[in-house]
């Protein structure tokens, strides 16, 4: 029986202006699984990811990590886990942003070690060891003393992946990790994610890269209008039996 890491049930999100972005979103991710969420702009995929990572409060439903409820709605009130549980929950996931959001005043090494040292309380020498190791794996060994502004977009995104991995999350979210990159730089980032997939890192990826999603995912979730329109293995979705809306959407990407 596979261990369920993330469980999202009946997630609803309504913005203050009344727009209902998520109507009834359900997703359960097992350990070692790679799930891609795709869909047109405004389908709610990024909002779903922001709710899952607690950047945006939910309006309804529940989100659990490792069987512990992180946030849930009950009789119209939204609850969050107590401080102690929340700390553990937050340590269990990481997020890679579309715009990297590296800390510009820190070097590459500091970006990767600072949270380890000051948040996770990892001894400094061990934090540096981990960082050096990660940079090595991601092909950035020679950049450890650079500031983010001196790196290409692809390099910055790889550093931000290293920063997330350094805290040893159980599941890693990606919010359109290649959307802010020049086309020739997306490859290096996708390669890293594929590498992680091959190491059985649990990942939930919001992306526009159809071909990549098809290659890397165990499961693809297709969203439209705040609900899941189709869900299945890449083969199930891309071949024949697929949902018409999905094929129409994919068709636009000339696949």
């Amino acid at each position: 029986m596979a261990e369920v890491l993330v469980e999202i049930k009946n997630l609803k999100k309504t913005f203050e202006n009344g727009t209902e972005v998520l109507k009834d979103f359900n997703l359960s991710v097992n350990k070692g699984e790679v799930v891609s969420i795709i869909g047109p702009s405004g389908s709610g995929k990024t909002t779903a990811l922001r709710c899952a990572t607690m950047l945006t409060p939910i309006s309804g439903g529940s989100i659990s990590y490792l069987g512990k409820k992180a946030t849930w709605e009950e009789n119209g009130t939204v609850h969050v886990a107590n401080k102690h549980d929340m700390k553990e929950i937050k340590q269990s996931f990481g997020l890679v942003f579309q715009n990297f959001n590296l800390f510009p005043h820190y070097t590459v090494l500091q970006n990767i070690t600072d949270a380890q040292i000051h948040v996770a309380k990892v001894p400094k020498s061990e934090a540096i060891d981990r960082a050096v190791n990660l940079l090595d794996r991601l092909g950035l060994s020679d950049k450890r003393d650079f500031y983010p502004c001196n790196l290409s977009g692809g390099q910055q995104q790889r550093v931000s992946i290293a920063r997330a991995l350094a805290l040893q999350p159980k599941v890693l979210f990606f919010d359109e990790p290649t959307s802010a990159l020049d086309p020739e730089l997306t490859g290096e980032v996708l390669k890293v994610i594929k590498q992680l997939a091959s190491e059985h890192m649990t990942m939930i990826i919001v992306t526009h890269e159809m071909q990549f999603a098809r290659e890397v995912s165990d499961r693809i979730v297709f969203m439209e209008g705040g609900v899941i329109q189709a869900e299945g293995t890449p083969d199930e979705l891309f071949n024949a039996i697929g949902n018409t809306r999905f094929l129409e959407f994919v068709g636009k990407y000339n696949m």
Binding site: N99, A115, V119, A164
Partner: protein, 216 residues
């Protein structure tokens, strides 16, 4: 009377001016930071009070504020004031006035930092204080150096306003020497001193700006 005597007397006044300048920066910069945070507070009462405070500080003459602070203990609380309070009053008045201006600069700086920086820190598990002081503030400081330099240079010249409380700073001394000598020269020399003082301040801030430009 020799030129040298005028210079040494003005020099003594300049030390006082520098003292007002340094102490004002020392108190008003941190105070301004907290005022800025209060101004951005979600607590409507707090941000409302801070707004009124900033409006008063920016909306009334600094010279008047100096007089009010010095005489407030007597006229508001009936406490007799001592002459020693003169200098303290100058520092209080300058600090609370400049804190209001610095607060608005800090606020602009803080609001110019992308929300993504806060979110990245939140995801990595930094608490609010760590996020602000370790991640946000260093970036804010880099961005606000030019407007802070402006205010700092204005402060150098504004120290001369403390003549209304007869603090023996450079401008007061220059006026007194001018009265004795029946001459405009001491005021001109004081002007030169202010210029040199500001030149050094501008040079220092420029160096600091360069030093802080290691990241973008």
């Amino acid at each position: 009377m020799s030129f040298g005597v005028i210079l040494s007397q003005l020099g003594g006044g300049m030390v006082k001016s520098i003292e007002i300048f340094v102490l004002t920066l020392l108190f008003s910069l941190p105070l301004g930071l907290f005022v800025a945070l209060g101004r951005m507070s979600k607590l409507k009462i707090l941000s409302g009070i801070i707004k009124i405070y900033i409006a008063i500080m920016r909306g009334t003459p600094l010279m008047l504020q100096l007089i009010v602070v010095y005489f407030a203990p007597y006229y508001v609380f009936g406490i007799n004031i001592s002459s020693g309070f003169r200098f303290t009053a100058v520092i209080i008045a300058f600090s609370i006035n400049y804190a209001a201006y610095f607060a608005e600069i800090f606020r602009a700086g803080i609001q110019s930092i992308s929300i993504g920086q806060w979110e990245a820190a939140q995801i990595l598990g930094y608490n609010k204080a760590q996020t602000f002081f370790k991640i946000i503030l260093p970036q804010v400081i880099q961005r606000i150096i030019p407007p802070v330099t402006n205010e700092t240079i204005t402060l150098v010249k504004d120290t001369s306003l403390s003549f209304v409380l007869s603090i023996a700073e450079m401008f007061t001394i220059a006026k007194q020497i001018g009265a004795r000598e029946a001459s405009i020269i001491p005021l001109m020399i004081a002007g030169l001193f202010y210029f040199i003082f500001n030149y050094i301040v501008a040079f220092g801030m420029d160096r600091f700006e360069k030093k802080m430009s290691y990241f973008r």
